[in-house]
């Protein structure tokens, strides 16, 4: 049997745009560190919601569901972009940060996000952007707490190295 993929109606997507669009926009721009590219990802996010976003209706956390879709779109763009030789250095992202987030560490991690595996990318965003605890992140991506501990430690060390190095770390 094939799972049936349900879509959202345009009106439902408009409601999401109205209530959550600003959060999705700032997230896409932050992850991609480029406003124009972030807006591209935002549009792609809504295209995906229109086609396949029916699960949103039953999501335990609607925002988490939307962030998952947006993250996927951002990561797809990152993969395309990292292979392009003409790619310009990404713009600095000047958004304000939540009190529990270290903006410098977050910026350093986002700077090498494109060089990470898909699972590492998701973990990096959950921990260094969303500020989830390692236990929460482990639950979200479905791996053990021990695995998350190791990976987060490696990400943190890499970010700290990048912050100590004047040159941008590009993986």
């Amino acid at each position: 049997m094939r799972a049936r993929v349900s879509s959202l109606t345009p009106d439902e997507c408009k409601a999401i745009w109205h209530g959550h669009g600003h959060l999705l926009r700032r997230r896409c721009r932050m992850i991609l560190r480029d406003d124009a590219l972030g807006d591209d990802a935002l549009q792609e996010t809504f295209v995906k919601l229109l086609r396949y976003g029916g699960e949103y209706r039953n999501a335990a956390s609607p925002l988490r569901f939307l962030y998952r879709v947006a993250d996927r779109c951002c990561f797809e763009l990152l993969e395309r972009r990292s292979s392009r030789r003409e790619d310009a250095p990404p713009d600095d992202w000047h958004g304000f940060a939540a009190p529990g987030v270290d903006p410098a560490l977050r910026g350093a991690v986002l700077g090498f996000l494109h060089a990470l595996s898909p699972e590492e990318r998701q973990l990096a965003v959950l921990v260094f952007v969303d500020g989830l605890s390692q236990g929460e992140a482990a639950e979200e991506i479905g791996v053990s707490r021990v695995t998350v501990n190791k990976r987060v430690q490696a990400l943190r060390e890499r970010a700290e190295r990048a912050l100590r190095t004047p040159r941008r770390e590009d993986g």
Binding site: H22, A98, F128, G131, S133, Q134
Partner: protein, 221 residues
Amino acid sequence: MSDAGSHPSAFRLEALHAGEADAEAAAHVERCAACRAYLDGLDAERAAHQAAPMPAFLEAPANVVPFPARRSRLVYILPALAAAAALALVLLRPGADGPPPDEIRMKGAVGVVAIRDRDGAQVRERGRVLVRPGDRLRFEVTVPAAKSLSVVARPDDGPAEVLVSGARLEAGVHLLEPTLRADEEATRVTIWVGPPALVEPPAVPRDGPSVTSLRIESESP
């Protein structure tokens, strides 16, 4: 973050801002000026966002061509587009196994249309398309009969770049995957579509029964 101290995570604050119930986070915000300031910032962003018009891709989603969001610059990144185009062309197949261009019977003219996306509003242009910084373009090629075609971009002030070389297209309408984005620089590029021998360097392409072109120019010089 795991070492975030006593503050709720950024995600919990954002979910709270979005209306999701979280009594613990709400109680924290009541007594934490830093978290309240963060939520105030989000409130201001939301107000600005809600005051802006709904984007066209949500107003009329059925009419919108999905843009794959490839960020490209028309003039300066044309060399890189060649590789991107070769990988990402929709409905194109390598032409190595197909007949050479001179064996194809031409049954009609090839057509090319630009789809210009400006802030989510799309228009289709034939012949000449004017762009502003930030505009995105996709191209639709109409082929009346199966043939091998190339797509070549010729900037007025730079070397020609082959975006697609000798790809075999079946009869029909083909939406090309590469998206071009106009940047701040003045843009003057001609896109040529036709048999490889007639449009790829060193040939100097001309419009004809089997060759068609599209001119891209900046709105302001």
